[in-house]
């Protein structure tokens, strides 16, 4: 006894209000980015940073490590942002420093999310003793204040290069995300399709990897962006207080030297402010992209500006008049 094929083709879904046709994911994402202002700003900023990180030589023609005799020079034609206490060109430092910060952000973002994912989702799915144990570990790291912990760890590892910084930041950063992912996974845990997979005989690891994770992609993406932001700020912060390798070219270390040499007090504003502004801008880029994905994924969060509201009201009045006119009673 088959369902009769209706005259309009295969039976339509009962929900009268359907979504758009399935376009390619890439086209959908690019359209979403173009129409959402936050997304556009975020993506453009990030693109600029990536470009600068990949091709610093195109933008800065001086070696950032080249010391010279022209120390503590304010901005001039030769040195756009002046020089630091060793005569190094500040502009070149900022440009070349981008790569360092970006690598830090992306690496920590990825690693933290990966660790948090493993621990958080496993804790939620396995439950019972495993959940208690993993929770305990997560909570301990969550409760300890991050920055003092960072300082203590970094203090034991003087002149910490990038890799050490990445490890330290990951170690202190995964717990927050693990909590989030665990909550999300828990809410999914008793969704029928997971129960169905279990009853069908699938192994736990399969269920976690194949069934749960794909439905959590938006949260995983948000976690990645969040942690990248955290890395930019905390990593630069550590470098700023001198715990990074002060020979590295990075915005944080540049700021360190600026602070050590009382740049603000001496009127060398560019040296003191520009690296900090870059840190803020990169952080903002990550944050914008994060908000944008939230809004794209959940239309209810989209801001209704006054202009949009007016336009919508006008459009609906127009439609109402048109439909009244069409119905010639």
């Amino acid at each position: 006894m088959a369902i009769p094929v209706t005259t309009t083709g295969l039976p339509q879904p009962a929900e009268g209000i359907t979504g758009p046709h399935r376009r390619s994911a890439l086209r959908r994402v690019s359209k979403a980015v173009r129409t959402n202002r936050k997304a556009t700003i975020g993506v453009v900023l990030m693109a600029i940073f990536i470009f600068v990180a990949l091709f610093p030589g195109l933008l800065a023609h001086q070696d950032p490590n080249a010391v010279s005799l022209h120390v503590l020079v304010p901005p001039s034609a030769a040195h756009l942002l002046g020089t630091d206490n060793l005569g190094r060109d500040v502009y070149a430092q900022v440009i070349y420093g981008t790569r360092n910060v970006l690598i830090l952000a992306l690496a920590v973002g990825l690693l933290t999310t990966a660790v948090a994912m493993l621990i958080g989702v496993a804790a939620a799915y396995l439950g019972g003793v495993w959940d208690s144990v993993l929770n305990f570990v997560t909570d301990v790291l969550l409760v300890i204040p991050i920055f003092p912990l960072l300082i203590i760890i970094a203090a034991y590892l003087p002149n910490a290069g990038n890799s050490v910084l990445i490890l330290v930041l990951t170690f202190t950063g995964w717990s927050y995300t693990a909590r989030q992912l665990r909550s999300q996974a828990q809410s999914l845990r008793n969704r029928d399709f997971l129960l169905a997979a279990r009853v069908r005989g699938e192994r736990s690891l399969y269920i976690i990897v194949v069934e749960i994770l794909p439905t959590m992609t938006s949260l995983l993406l948000a976690s990645f962006l969040n942690n990248a932001l955290y890395a930019v700020l905390a990593g630069s912060g550590l470098q700023f207080i001198g715990l990074g390798n002060s020979n590295n070219v990075s915005w944080g270390t540049t700021l360190y030297w600026a602070q050590q040499n009382n740049a603000l007090g001496s009127g060398l504003y560019a040296w003191a402010i520009v690296p900090g502004a870059c840190i803020a801008l990169m952080g903002a880029a990550f944050a914008f992209i994060n908000y944008a994905f939230d809004e794209i994924g959940n239309p209810a969060l989209r801001p209704l500006t006054a202009a949009k509201a007016r336009k919508a009201a006008e459009a609906s009045t127009k439609r109402r008049l048109a439909s009244h006119g069409a119905r010639a009673r």
Partner: protein, 340 residues
Amino acid sequence: MAHALADDQHGIAGPLRQGPVLEVRDLSVEYVLESGIVRAVDDVSFDLAPGEFLAIVGESGCGKSTLLFGIAQLLSPPAEISGGSVAFNGRDLVQLTDRDLAAVRWKDMSVVMQSAMNALNPVTSVGAQFRDAMRAHGVTSGDEIHRRSVEVLKMVGIDPIHLKSYPHQLSGGMRQRSMIAMAMLFTPELIIMDEPTSALDVVAQRSLMAQIKDLQQEFGFAVIFVTHDMSLVRHFSDRLMVMYAGQVSEVGRTQQLFDHPRHPYTAGLMDAFPSIRGPRVPLTGIPGSPPDLARPPAGCRFAPRCPRCMPRCEADPPPEYQVGDVAVRCFLYDEAGGAR
């Protein structure tokens, strides 16, 4: 439009005014989406007499809940009223400002939602919520508030001690009753109910329906009751309106629709309820699904699933035909075309 006053509706209060409490004319509601405009409610018209119990029945996607929200002016974007009027005691609610609406809300017209657990505030006691509602409408005396709260709880059969209870401490049935009590705080002329029994079990459902009917007969308010289960309202509603794909397919006295369903959808729906009495007969239900309202079919919306479909049905949308006291949207009842 058929809108005769029900014979047994002259309760103690009696009809409060001549003329219908509610006059809905050509009401349409659209969802404005990026992908296009979807008309969830298409040109619905009906009257509601004072003290009348109208049941609106339909399945998912028929637009009954959207219609309810449209009448109560509770739509939010992307849904909006795209045409028509909702005249409550002569005033068109669609044209009113929020401030004027607020005066009407709860005092003259109140709403009972589908799931009390969603509608009640989980962190405040029931009594506090009654108090909020009354204060919002100008009742300031604490004594008056308390007196009225106790009164409405007793009306629905809940011990007034539960004014101090939180929603999660009450059972499902009691939560729904307290929602109804809240809706009755100002004895409005019209109470709109959106599937208030769907979260309850069979026995609790029957008990709640009886309660609603008793209250209605005692206080004389009109009721619009939306449900997907027509057997539930069989013994309680005066008139029954069957909706399909955003349109009214049949409307008339409940008794008449049950005794002699005219629209093939109504007939099919009635046949889809297996009976616990009488012989066990094989049933077929109504195979297929409602149409996609983003691209509604050119002719009758029920045509693809209709066992009595004629060629004409797929080409033109049928208007409503009056057959005695019943209105049917079906070409079978077009005298000019020689209907059965």
